[in-house]
């Protein structure tokens, strides 16, 4: 009897762990319907299509990053940004996500977290930016080679970030 009980408890523990996987998803779900928020979700299927469809236009180096990505989620708001940021930070399960980098620059808090499988394999990368005027949460699912990213950082159009804002106005 006792063994059965402990087995059941373990079973639910394992299930609850998987529940933490969806903490970010839940966070997204909570706000995706909120009109104050901008939400973008690029599905794994879409990423598969990238390499097939937009093959020629893909920057080679960018392609090397993109091909390992499986999903992309963006959540952005300008209202109550700080509050939302704090809420998001609280809800991230620290057991799952390791802080890769935190910074605070010009009143903006930046947090980069990763979920790793084993030593080198990044499963998910979370970027949280919270400041007085905006809150952004970006979740990259899939392997991201940060070295490659750093290399192409200069190449990427930094101003292109504005596109994200434009999208919110659609």
């Amino acid at each position: 009897m006792n063994k059965l009980f402990s087995l059941v408890v373990l079973l639910f523990l394992s299930l609850s762990v998987s529940a933490q996987d969806d903490a970010i998803d839940k966070f997204f779900e909570q706000y995706q319907d909120d009109e104050e928020f901008t939400m973008v979700y690029v599905s794994p299927k879409m990423f598969e299509m990238f390499t097939r469809i937009a093959g020629d236009e893909l920057d080679v180096e960018l392609k090397s990053i993109v091909k390992d990505l499986k999903g992309l989620k963006v959540l952005k708001t300008e209202t109550n940004a700080e509050q939302i940021y704090k809420d998001a930070v609280k809800r991230i399960p620290t057991k799952e996500y390791e802080i890769l980098m935190t910074a605070r620059d010009e009143g903006q808090n930046i947090k980069v977290l990763t979920k790793t499988q084993g030593e080198d394999v990044i499963e998910e990368l979370l970027l949280l930016v919270g400041g007085a005027d905006e809150f952004v949460l970006v979740s990259f699912v899939g392997n991201i080679n940060l070295n490659d990213l750093a290399r192409i950082a200069g190449k990427l159009d930094i101003d292109g970030v504005k596109h994200l804002e434009k999208l919110g106005q659609d």
Partner: protein, 308 residues
């Protein structure tokens, strides 16, 4: 003539030749015109003609009869073929004085059997069994039957009477108490409430089985606890299933609401790509922000000579 001989030989090798035919063969071989193909056998048949008296045409019956009667019977005896009469003859012979020297060795054997015979010869096994079955006033016999559950009620009464009496043999003393008990118990009927006893036993077992748990127990404790456990387990599973179902539903839905844009349409691949690019750019920008800060701080720190 030759064909005949071949036939005879054939028969001979098959041990089918009659004495007459063997005689013919012998005559042939002892003669001088033995065919070349029969030459090889000549010595054989001449040997036989020499040893004729000793072997080939010995009649076993004859042999037996040429022996003394006792030897014959002995042979039969070793083969367990003797009749009772013949065995009697043997025993008489060995009981007597005129035993042949070659039979001396068996004297003691038959002497032994003689003694035995006197003891048991009248033993009829069938008689014994019959006697065993029928009513026996011998207490030992009755007891034997009793242990084998073969005694009749009357016989058991006899036993009981015997044991309740004063003249119980020493070897039966041990059983007296038992038969005395049976006498008094014989009239009792079994009116035990088996159900009651069983439930009480179960309750006791149930209590002990719980071990360290101290719980108030009803009389049907075992069944009760099972039900409770079953209900508990069922509840756990129901909750578990509910939880799993709820969690399964925590998948990002694709809905168009507010400013939500879900790009999974093929037509929007390009746009999705752009967005991804921007997202990555955003990421790298922010990361660079951090590193820039670090770099500037470090450069500042270099100016401060902390370590001398």
């Amino acid at each position: 003539m030759k064909i005949n001989i071949n036939n005879l030989l054939e028969k001979y090798w098959n041990a089918e030749a009659s004495l007459q035919e063997e005689a013919e063969l012998r005559a042939y071989f002892s003669g001088s015109d033995v065919a070349p193909e029969h030459e090889q056998f000549r010595d054989l048949f001449s040997y036989f003609s020499v040893s004729r008296l000793q072997s080939t045409d010995l009649d076993v019956e004859e042999v037996l009869s040429s022996l003394s009667d006792i030897d014959a019977i002995l042979v039969k005896y070793w083969n367990a073929e003797t009749s009772v009469e013949e065995e009697r003859q043997l025993s008489e012979y060995f009981a007597g004085d005129s035993i042949a020297p070659e039979h001396e060795q068996f004297k003691d054997l038959f002497g032994y059997y003689d003694v035995l015979k006197a003891q048991t010869s009248s033993l009829d096994l069938n008689e014994l069994f019959e006697k065993h079955k029928t009513q026996d006033t011998d207490i030992d016999g009755l007891l034997e039957k009793y242990w084998n559950a073969e005694s009749s009620l009357e016989e058991e009464t006899v036993l009981r009477e015997y044991f309740s009496g004063g003249k119980v043999a020493q070897r039966h003393e041990a059983y007296r108490g038992m038969f005395g008990l049976f006498a008094s118990k014989a009239s009792e009927t079994c009116d035990l409430d088996v159900e009651k006893i069983l439930s009480e036993a179960e309750a006791e077992i149930g209590e002990r089985a719980i071990g360290s748990h101290v719980m108030p127990r009803a009389s049907k404790a075992k069944v009760f606890s099972l039900q409770r456990w079953a209900a508990g387990i069922a509840a756990v599973f129901v909750l578990g299933f509910a939880a799993i179902t709820v969690m399964d539903q925590a998948e990002p839905t694709t809905q168009y609401k507010g400013h939500a844009t879900v790009l999974d349409d093929e037509a929007e691949a390009q746009e999705a790509y752009e967005i991804t690019k921007e997202a990555l750019a955003f990421l790298s920008k922010n990361m660079n922000k951090g590193s820039k800060t670090v770099v500037s701080s470090v450069s500042k720190a270099e100016k401060v000579k902390i370590f001398k």
